[in-house]
Each structure stands twice: as C-alpha cells, then as structure tokens.
Amino acid sequence: MTTTSALIDRYVDATLRRLPERQRPDIEKELRASIADAVDDRLDAGSDPADAELAVLTELGDPARLAAGYADRPLQLVGPALYLDYTRLVTTLLATIVPAVAAAVGLVRTLQGGTALHVIGDTLGAAFTAGVHIAFWTTLLFVVIERVPALRRAPARSWTPDALPEPPSRRARYGELVTETVLLVLITTFVLLSPVVSSETDAAGDPIGVLSPWLWETGVVHLFIALVVADLGFSFAKYYARWNVPLALAGSLVGVACAITLIWLAANDRVLNPAFAEAAGWPSALPRWINAGLVAISIGTLVHAVAEGIRRARRR
C-alpha cells in the first residue's frame, strides 16, 4: 500500500468538502482506494511516484465536477426542463411590474413637484432597481427548484397548440388606427385653437388660452404637433407597409420622442397657462394634477411603444 501524499489528501478533501456529511466516509474510502489503485498501476508500468500521482489526479479532473457527479448535482443554474418556464416568468414579471413601478414613481415625483431631470432620473432608477430585483429573485427561486428534487417532481405542464399566441386581427388593428387618427385630429384642433377660443377673457376682452403662451413663443407647439403627426404617419405605414426593422425603429423613436417631449413639458409646468387657471378660478392643486396625469399617460405610451416594438420584432 502506498502512503498517501499531501497532494492526494488535498484532492480528496476538496472533493469531500462539496458532499453531504453522511456520504463522506464511504466515498472517501472508495475514492482513496481507486486513486491508490490507479497510482500503483502506473508505478508498475515504471512511472516515477510523483508523476504517477499527478497523472492520476489530472485524469480525475476538477474535484468540484467529481463531487457534483457523486452528489447528482446539476452543473447549471437552471436546466432545460425548467428553462422555458423560467424565461416566461421573468419576461412576464419584467413587462408588467417594471412599467407599473416606473409609472407610479414618475407620478409621485411629479406630484411632489420635482424638476424634469429628477423625475426622469428617479423613474429610471426605480425601474432599474425593480428589474434587477425581479431578475435576481426569480432566478434564485428557479435555482432552488432545480436543486431540490422534491420541488422538481411536480408534473410539467404539457404544451398544447392552444398556447400559441393569436395574431391580432387586421380588423382590430384597423380599429386602433381609426381611434388614433380621430384622437390626433381632436387634440391638434384643440391645441391650435386654444389661443383664440377660450372660455376666459382678459380685461381687454381677448381670450386667455388654456395652454401656456410659452409653447407658441418658442415654437415648441409646432415641434410637438409635427412629432404627433409623424407618429400617426408611422402607424399608417406599419398598417399598410410590410414590417421592416428601419421602419419599426423610426416609428418607435418618434413615439418615444413624443412621450418624452410631453413628460418634459408637463414636468416643467410648460403645458398650462397660469393666467388661465387664475382667471378660471382653478384650485391651485389642479394644474399639478393635470401635469401628473400627462406624465403618467406619456409613460404608459412610452412603455407601450417599447413593448410593441419588442413583440413585433420577436414575431418575425
């Protein structure tokens, strides 16, 4: 019997350390015997003792891998049996909770009267934190399920063709397009008429517009309307033209630009005319609520545009 060397001891320890206590004595005896047998074999073949040990241990390979084999432990975080359920759950949670958190935080920060930069920063920060938490905890949950056989044995839901996503009907999408067009015409008309048609008049009898005159002075209102019209144009293009990446990307960008412009205007209180609020005798909190509502709607549009882009890209 060869005396076991320090190297073999270290190898055996490294393997046993990764095994449950009750398996250790038996595996240790067997592993040591197997290593000694292999070393003896090489010595008989005329090899140098130190070389023989090195060769045998090298052949056995990483003790962590050997221990995983003994313990029947998977060498992956989430295996193929669970992977699809895992990705589906993560995507669903990310697609629902992150936008909800972002909208809520954006709304609250706007109500508290933060600057645009703060509102956007806090919203993005909260969305990011929520996303990281969802990804981390869901992954951890599945890693545990993968490693606890009792949890894994639950019969897997078998897939049937019923689970295939339904393509949205052309008629339903046409309905969306019509609604979008009508809304756009109404909003544009309202915006363009607002300086001249108003329920309130000033001392000289001229109408006080409900929207901030700053929008006209700077020309921002025209930029905004141009963006909204372009957005509608892309909606038509998406409906009638074949889907392609540049078109979808441009459409999404215009949608995002619209939403961000509106968030920026609302957060900086550039939308409403303070003179109108005063003349109409609005309570002081009302303009802030309207701004917050605009921000919330914009965030919703933003999320919708991004989600829609991803969904369409995935279906191709």
Binding site: M1, K29, E30, G69, D72
Partner: protein
Amino acid sequence: MLDEELLSTHLQELRRGTVVLACLLILEQPNYGYALLDLLGRRGFAVDANTLYPLLRRLEKQGLLAADWNTEESRPRKFYRTSEKGLALADVLSRDWSELDTAFRTLKGGS
C-alpha cells in the same frame, strides 16, 4: 473531412448510455471501481474515471447494483455486482440495442 469537435460531440451522444449497459453486463461478476474502469477500457467501452465512479454509486442508489466492502485484502475495496433488478434492466436494454442494430442494418441494406 469531419472536424474533430463535431465528430467527438456526435460520438459522445451516440455512446451515452452504453456505459450503463456495459457495467450491468460486466458486473454479473463482482468487481471494484478501478478494475472495472480498466476492464471497460480493454473491452472497448472507454470511459473517464470521474464519470464511472459517480455512475456506479447512482446505479447502486437505483438498486441496479449491489455493493459490499471487501476488507480481506490490505486495501479495502467496494465491490459492485448487478442486482436482480439490474439484470432485468440489462435484458431490456440489450434487446433494445439488438433491435436498433437490426434497424440500422435494414436501413443500410435497403439503400
């Protein structure tokens, strides 16, 4: 020419599982880890030590192999032998293997 990596992946896929059958058949005569590794290699079932040793324990846990410690010699060794259940499985697997073999022969003969 077939590239090395492609070849080894497919060979590995094809041979996966054959080691189990070979173990069940060889261990009708009781034997211990290292000697079995050596024997398998010489009989044309090359397998790595770090695959075989855990596999033996898994088969023992599944009741396909029975194991006893032999402490009569200076170096105590764990001897494995195929159990009744293991023999039954070996029977089914062998039959399946021959059926596959026949099927392949028919395929090649028929082309």
